[in-house]
Structures are given as C-alpha cells and as structure tokens.
Subunit: 345 residues, 2 copies
C-alpha cells in the first residue's frame, strides 16, 4: 500500500474543518445545530444551550514576551464569551483546561487565573471545571463555554436575507495594529534591551490586542430595542472573512461602503505610520471581537441612534457578488484574507 | 518586590485544582455543581446538563510510537463519555479541539477522526464543534462533553453513607499492565529494530490501555434494576485514589477486602512476570475507566447477580479509616498513589 502524505496546510483551517466534519451526522434529537456556527445549539427542553470552544497555543496565538499572562487569561475567557454573544446568547459557564511546561511557576498560574477570574466576574460567568496537566513545551489553554438562549432568539450565520442592513459594532483593525506595535517593540527590545518600550501612544491599540472585550452589552441593547438580528457572527478573523461566512451560510451577497467602515483615528494613523492601508487592516485584521450582524430594514429606526452600532452596507441576493464601494465610488471585490493558523504559522 | 518562585509540582494536580478553584464562586442560578466532581452539573430547566472536559498531551498522556492514532481518537472520546457516566448521566455531544505540529499529515488527522467517529457511533454522541490550530510541537487533544440527566438521578461523589456497599465494575489494573507491556516492547524495539513486537499474548491488557471503553451499559443496567447509586466516580487515576475522593467528599471512611478486588488472570500473571504486586497494580494503576460506586444495603439483591459488578467492601462513618483487609486478614491503610502528571512526568 502506498503511503501518501497530504499536508494540512493545503486545506487551510476552514477547509480542514469541512473535511473533518463531513463524515459526522448527529443522531441525538437534542442536537439542533452542530459544527458551522459560532457555537453549537442544543435543545435543553425549555431553552437552548449554546456550546463553543477555543484553544490558544503559545507561539501560535500568543507571545508571552509581550503578553502579560493575566491579560492572556482575560482574553481566553472573553473570546469564548464573544462566541456565545455572536449567537445572541448569554454565556453562563466555562471550563478551563491548561497544559503547562515546568517553565511556569505557581505565581504565573495564579496571574493567569487572576485574569480568568476578572473576566468571569465581568461577564458573570462561572468556572465549573477543567483539566490541568503538564506539557512538553509551552502553555496551551483550552476553554469551553456554555450559554443559554430562548429558543426563538438564536441568531445563526444563515439568516441574512436580501435588503437586510449589515451592522458592525465598535471599530475595526485596532487589535491588528496593536499586534504590529507589539511586534515592533519586541524587535527593538531584542536589538537593544536598554531601550524603554514606546507603547504609551498606542495604548488603545495594544489594549485591543491584549485585552479584547466581548460585546455582551450589544446583545442586551438589541433586545431592549426590540431588534432581533437576522444573522450574526463575531469578528475574530477579520471583517471580510466573516462577511464571507455570512454570505456562504445565508446564500446571499453583500455590498458594503468603505466610508462606513468604522476605523479609530489612532488605528488609521498607526497604519499609515506602518505603511499599511488602514482599510485593509480593518477588513483583514483579526481579533477585533466586534459583532457583525444583519437586521431587517424596518429595524433601521430602532438602532440608528446607538453610538456603537455602524451600518456598513446591505445584503443582496446575488450570492457571487461580495463587493465594497470605495470612497471614490469604485467597486472592488472583497477577499477573505483572514487569519489562518495553518497557513500563516 | 521580591520575586518568589513556587513550583507547581509542590502542590500536585489535585492540590493545584484546589488552589486554582478557591477564589471562584458561582453567581449563576443555573450552576448547580461547579468544580469537584466528574462533571459540572447545570440546570437546564426540565433536566440537568452535565459538562466535563479532558486534555490529552503528546509525551505526557500518550506516546505515538506505540499508540495507533485512531485508538487515541477513540480513547479521547471514551474517557470523556466515562466522566458523564460517572455522574449517572448520558453523554450526547462533544467538541474536539486539536493543536497539531506540521509533523502530522492529513492522513494522520483522518485516522484520528476515524477513531473519534467510531467512538461517537458507539456511544451515540454527536460531534458539535471544536477548534483546530497548529502547535509548536506535538499533538494536543482537548475534548469537552455535554451530557444530560434527570434532576433526581445525579450520582455525586459526595453521597456515600455509612453501611453503603462499595461496588466496582469490570476488572482493575489491566490498563496499567498494558502500559508496562507497551513500554517494554518499545525498549526492545529501540534496542533491536529487527525484533517483532511480542504483544499478542498480552492483547487484553494492551487493548485496555489503548482502547478503553466507558461503562455506559452499567448506567443502563442500574436504572433497569431500579438501583440509584448513592455516590459514583470513574476509575481514571486508580481505585485507591478514587476511593479517597469519595471518602473526602462524602465525609466517610471505607473498608475494602483484598480478595474481592477484581483482577483479571492475565493482569495477575503479567504483574508477577514484571515483578509487580498485582494488588498494587489494581489499587494504583490508572486508566481502567471502570465505575466505582456505592449503593444502599437494601439494593444488594438487585445487583448481586450482575456478572460485571463486584462488591468490594463497605462505607463506614470513621472518615479517617480507609483500610483494606488482606487475604491473610491483616488491616492495611489505603494510600492514594494514583497518577499525577505534574509529579510523575
């Protein structure tokens, strides 16, 4: 028998997920939605339970030379809570599993859990379990999160319909620019360890990278405004990549407007300083953990005054047309160039 | 400020878990039981939901030089299903997260998922999510499992009461002896790669190590017999260690009888061949994934004919007295010398 070897990098992360999940077919009546959204949706009787999981690997997802370990703990929880928010749900419990090499002291573990606790307190999430083990090298954190949602309130990626308004919260590209700043300061430090890090002017960007927040208050605001998103996803891999997910699963296309994409002034200026195109950073920079969602036209009035929700375009039915209208009025095709840990690493 | 460094190994795995979990206090009404049992117990309205998680790290929990990767996939699911069974529940969904170095081909990943699928099919569990990422070195598998149970059926570790009968399923020590056999064959192979592995006579032991099963049918049998365990735990770290968990959480002591501890003939003979005490292997060898539980005296009649349930002793109220009566009638104190990945690794 010939031994063929295929590389995982040929498929990429999303290709690998498709490949892996193909042979699996749910058999339990309680499984409402399995792989393919921000969280699995499971029938718990009166309500649905949401389940999601994320794994963070040292050297791939974080670099402890510029990441305070308590921020890492906070972020690990926040990104999981964000996955539940992206289903329009409320996170309630997490489990935290750690693999640690003997490089890590008990004090380092305590600092990590201080960050985890701070996030648990902030998002009102209970730590209910986990696993701790040693590792051969480095730190790996795996968090699972359980959320809860009324059965008629789930926002899947697949619900966007023609003429829906596309909304995004906060601003985009800041976490990506924060990473660029941190990487540059690390280089400077490695070249000259006497040099003081010059992070202060970039504080907002660095904090977006190191200590992102899940936009749970948006879920609350939407409910209070009586708005049910037709589709939702969180921006972890970049706006363009997430729009592609929404389009694929909803069977639609999108038209967005460059001048409507929210970019913080500091993100803009820092991108220019780094000789990067700010709009490319906003479209393709990952880890913003903002919420991207669609609402019906008739909900326009209900959200237009929200200071942190930006309407950036609309959904149309030509599913092959995912385009951006530039400030100059040109039409450009969007490309999903988000993060791919198998290709980029 | 002085920088003290404390080693995690000073606490050990269980000490670390106690240390980590101390500052956390549940705030959600849905959190019925957080850290400290085989699974967390969460109120889902009509029923309880059970949530547990396990992380397997290459070089710590498994050695791919003698572990077929599809068996590893099977085992990773089985040990999680076992945690749900140990609460008297039924596992229904899992998430699987993987970190993989570029040493792993797509064919290896496919083989791993064949094992995962085989276990999912066997235990009727749905794969509903996960995360895939690259790693700097080796393979890490993190699985979370969701189960379901009627609210009046949960078997906690804390429910054992004086005079309850202590039961254990199957036989003990086989997985540990399987590991010894595999480790010896690896040594032989490293010394002389021409040598054929001599695993055949030890097939039962090796299969207990490489492809353990969760005892889900016992849960079914107990329910059919009308027996509700007063306390339950699965034997992952060794019988003695698990008895200590039951005693600690139930506030009781135990008396077990050496001649009642189920040891397979091959386990016994192989232990002797390896110059190991068979009873020590049964008490302290890990990874059997049998169920250890207590039942009320009055349930004796209902289970005494079950071919795979063994009554090994009873619970008493002197919580400092955890003892074994030897075949010679001597009284020896039990010691919890189970696996500790931080100390043993």
């Amino acid at each position: 028998m010939s031994q063929n070897r295929s590389e995982i990098s040929q498929l990429g992360e999303f290709g690998l997920i498709d490949h892996i999940s193909k042979p699996f077919h749910p058999v339990n009546a309680s499984t409402i939605k399995a792989i393919g959204d921000d969280a699995a949706v499971l029938d718990a009787g009166e309500a649905f339970v949401l389940l999601s999981t994320d794994m963070l690997v040292e050297g791939i997802h974080f670099d402890l030379s510029y990441t305070p370990i308590q921020h890492l703990g906070y972020k690990a929880v926040a990104v999981n809570v964000s996955d539940i928010a992206a289903m329009n749900g409320k996170a309630e419990q997490i489990t935290v599993s750690l693999a640690l090499s003997n490089r890590f002291s008990l004090e380092a573990v305590d600092a990590l859990y201080q960050g985890i606790k701070s996030a648990c307190d902030n998002y009102k999430v209970d730590l209910v379990g986990g696993d701790t083990t040693s590792s051969v090298s480095g730190l790996i954190i795996s968090i699972s999160v359980l959320g809860r949602i009324a059965k008629d309130k789930v926002a899947y990626r697949s619900g966007a319909r023609s003429a829906d308004i596309i909304c995004v919260t906060g601003d985009l590209g800041a976490a990506f620019m924060g990473l660029q700043v941190l990487a540059r300061e690390k280089e400077v430090f490695l070249t000259n360890p006497e040099m003081q890090p010059g992070l202060e002017p970039y504080e907002y960007l660095v904090s977006r990278q190191l200590k992102p927040e899940a936009r749970t208050e948006i879920i609350f605001d939407l409910e209070e405004a009586g708005v049910m998103p037709t589709a939702m996803i969180d921006v972890s891999d970049g706006l363009a990549s997430e729009l592609f997910h929404l389009c694929k699963q909803s069977g639609v296309g999108v038209r967005i407007f460059e001048d409507k994409i929210p970019i913080d002034q500091l993100t803009f200026e820092t991108a220019v300083e780094f000789k990067l195109d700010p709009i490319t950073c906003a479209l393709n920079g990952g880890e913003d953990y903002e919420l991207l969602f669609t609402v019906k036209q008739e909900d326009h009035e209900r959200i237009k005054k929200h200071p942190d929700i930006h309407m950036i375009g609309y959904v149309h039915e030509r599913k092959d047309e995912k385009i951006m209208i530039t400030k100059q009025g040109n039409v450009v095709a969007l490309k999903a160039q988000g993060w791919d840990h198998f290709r980029d690493a």
